[in-house]
Symmetry: C2
Subunit: 192 residues, 2 copies
Amino acid sequence: MTTHFKPFNTLFLESQSILEPKGKVITRRLSDMAELYQDQKSAQSLMDENPLVYEVFNVEVPESIEHIQHCITVLYPGKVGEEFFMTKGHYHEILNRAEIYFCFKGEGKLVMQTQDGDYEELDMKPGTISYVPPNWAHRTVNTGEEPFVFFAAYPGDAGHNYGDIEKIGFRKVIVNESGEVKTVDNPRYQLS
Amino acid sequence: MTTHFKPFNTLFLESQSILEPKGKVITRRLSDMAELYQDQKSAQSLMDENPLVYEVFNVEVPESIEHIQHCITVLYPGKVGEEFFMTKGHYHEILNRAEIYFCFKGEGKLVMQTQDGDYEELDMKPGTISYVPPNWAHRTVNTGEEPFVFFAAYPGDAGHNYGDIEKIGFRKVIVNESGEVKTVDNPRYQLS
């Protein structure tokens, strides 16, 4: 008789934006991703403070196609210069793997692009289910003033390729312009 | 240049338990599944009324491994005899595909079994994230007095095999016993 992987529950406590059990937590401070922001002078000036940009609470399942990875991300409010706090952003290592988001709190943008240079963005707010189809790199941006909290699920074998985004960037960046949220060209973007 | 499947949003309106856009809706009334309940006399006596047992609001994406199917299920409160309203329950057609649930409203149970005869159940309430690993048939049961509402996501190619559960049943059934929720043996269950 085969031994099967057992079903289990994780509890999302919405009022505190935490999981029970807590799972494996990835913590990203500014120092982990400072080079991704446009305004390097502002990034450097924030380095002493080194703010917490986001946390990912991962539920651990095997990294194979049969399984579904899932996590809660808490992306904090803040800016580096006029650019909003964001996640590093990645393609899936297996490029043609989708991802799905469910927003619980706050507001933000989901920015996406393909290796061909297509660019799309979606607004997220509580109740938004956002679909990232296969082949799209994805990054979330907190455009609000409170933590931006969402659930994500993706195939077990998808993996993360951060390197391409670190090198090339996204075509657009999301900035505060006189109190408004604007999408502007990223001068550092280069089509591979 | 490849044409990529475009990212898109769906909005879950929690107060009304509906999706915008509505998507493809599957409606299951008692007549669609009466034979699955233990108490056939009670099932027959409810046939004129033919109550709505559950609705599934599907977001449509291609049925291939690259994609992630997702939907909202609204499972209504009710009983057939002493057995609580439930979904039909199924294995995935591709057996080793997982599924993930996120509960928003109400309360219920997620009952699961493997083809080897293993049985597991999990309680669901708002905030519960339930993981159905590969190879487990799954059914949800509304053990409360209000609609039981949850989000589900599973691989695009998983498919549904309802036939085996229709034939064999689950090992256990969830019933009301003097006002308490009880899990009892299903006398009609037969290990394949």
